[in-house]
């Protein structure tokens, strides 16, 4: 089930970051795209947003919109990784962790991270095209599924 898969991705990604918001902020700051104070806030808001999005997809409320927001977020993340890559930054994407810092000698795996996000983007796109799935609140509220 595409919807559940994407929901799990968000909940896992958010859950791992939520345990240490300061680290999440540092991971965002490592991209060097915004001042540290802004990065701290983004780092704190993002995990909660990801979990909320995951839960919304899980229960299946306004799936088309949730999938659309998922796609937009994924595109932003991918843009961030590409820009870090282009600037030669040595960072871990922090996608499923508190990431951020890479010790000297560790190589970033930007291509793999982008490929993974692209995979998630495909899930989101599939949901965007066919948002009506079984066992969703949408189905319950709108009656049946087409």
């Amino acid at each position: 089930m595409t919807r559940l898969a994407l929901a799990v991705v968000w909940i896992v990604a958010g859950g791992q970051k939520m345990t240490d918001l300061a680290a999440s902020g540092r991971a965002v700051n490592a991209y060097r795209l915004m001042p540290y104070d802004a990065a701290k806030i983004v780092g704190a808001v993002q995990p909660f947003l990801e979990i909320a999005l995951g839960l919304l997809l899980l229960v299946g409320l306004a799936v088309r919109l949730s999938a659309g927001i998922s796609a937009v977020l994924l595109l932003i993340f991918m843009a961030g990784i590409v820009s870090a890559w282009a600037r030669g930054l040595q960072i871990d994407c922090g996608c499923f962790s508190q990431g951020g810092a890479l010790a000297a000698g560790q190589t970033p795996e930007y291509a793999r991270e982008i490929a993974r996000d692209a995979g998630f983007l495909v899930l989101a796109a599939m949901l965007l095209c066919k948002p009506r799935t079984r066992f969703s609140l949408d189905g319950l509220l709108l009656g049946g599924h087409r």
């Binding site: 680290a23 540092r26 979990i51 919304l56 949730s66 010790a103 000297a104 000698g105 709108l142």
Partner: protein, 242 residues
């Protein structure tokens, strides 16, 4: 069926379809609005939790009086060139850097070429099964600095570095290491068990991030980051700066 009845049935169908469409539109509007509200609230919760943590940390903050550079580092030597070293006691590469470059750094200090400022930071708390070894060891180093034994304790922590993913050294072991370098008073042990410098460790880690430290070890000579932190690179940069 008469022509009139057929038409009436068709009209009813059209009306029913229209009602169903309107209902769907209303439901979609409400669910979409709910989704947006839920996401906004989730974001606000994240912000609130962060502010709460920061306020809490600020209240608990005790900056060790021995610390220099805005209370973030412990200095060795009095030379003109400033070498800033950001390290996490859980980081194996930091240990490797220390064992490869420790002597060279001591030389630079002894010959009054450079001042070395050690910044213990905690970026690897996730690597100690929730015991926050990075924070605990950085805080312990601050306590050692207050006892006048930062350099010795710093060496002891790297010599006894736990493996990443383990629980790290427990507080008893941290206290014992202190005793082994001459921190025998109760002040050191009390600072460890009382978590005196935990908030400080969190604060300096944030400060380091704000300064562009994205990993450990990060070595800066007069403020510019070395690409590869090696003894040779440090000596070269100091020679160029001095």
């Amino acid at each position: 069926m008469s022509k009139g009845a057929k038409e009436r049935a068709a009209v009813r169908r059209i009306v029913a379809d229209q009602k169903a469409r309107e209902k769907r539109r209303a439901v979609t509007l409400w669910t979409s609005t709910s989704v947006i509200i839920v996401l906004v609230i989730a974001g606000l919760i994240g912000w609130a939790v962060l502010s709460g943590q920061e306020t809490d940390n600020a209240e608990k903050l005790t900056t060790p009086p021995a610390a220099v550079d805005g209370g973030t580092a412990f200095a060795a030597g009095d030379g003109p060139v400033e070498i800033d070293i950001y390290e996490d006691f859980m980081c194996p590469v930091c240990r490797a850097f220390e064992s490869a470059s420790g002597d060279a750094l001591q030389q630079l200090v002894a010959r009054h070429k450079a001042t070395v400022r050690y910044h213990p930071i905690a970026i690897l708390d996730r690597a100690s099964n929730g015991t926050r070894y990075s924070t605990r060891s950085a805080a312990a180093a601050a306590a050692a600095a207050e006892g006048g034994r930062f350099a010795e304790y710093h060496r002891a922590l790297f010599a006894n570095q736990p493996t990443e993913g383990s629980d790290g050294l427990d507080d008893a072991k941290l206290i014992q290491l202190g005793e082994s370098v001459g921190l025998t008073g109760t002040a050191f042990a009390d600072a460890i068990t009382g978590k005196t410098y935990w908030a400080w460790a969190t604060t300096v880690t944030g400060e380091a991030s704000a300064r562009g430290v994205t990993g450990t070890p990060t070595v800066m000579v007069n403020g510019s980051k070395l690409d590869e932190p090696t003894a040779a690179a440090v000596e070269q940069a100091v020679a160029a700066a001095g």
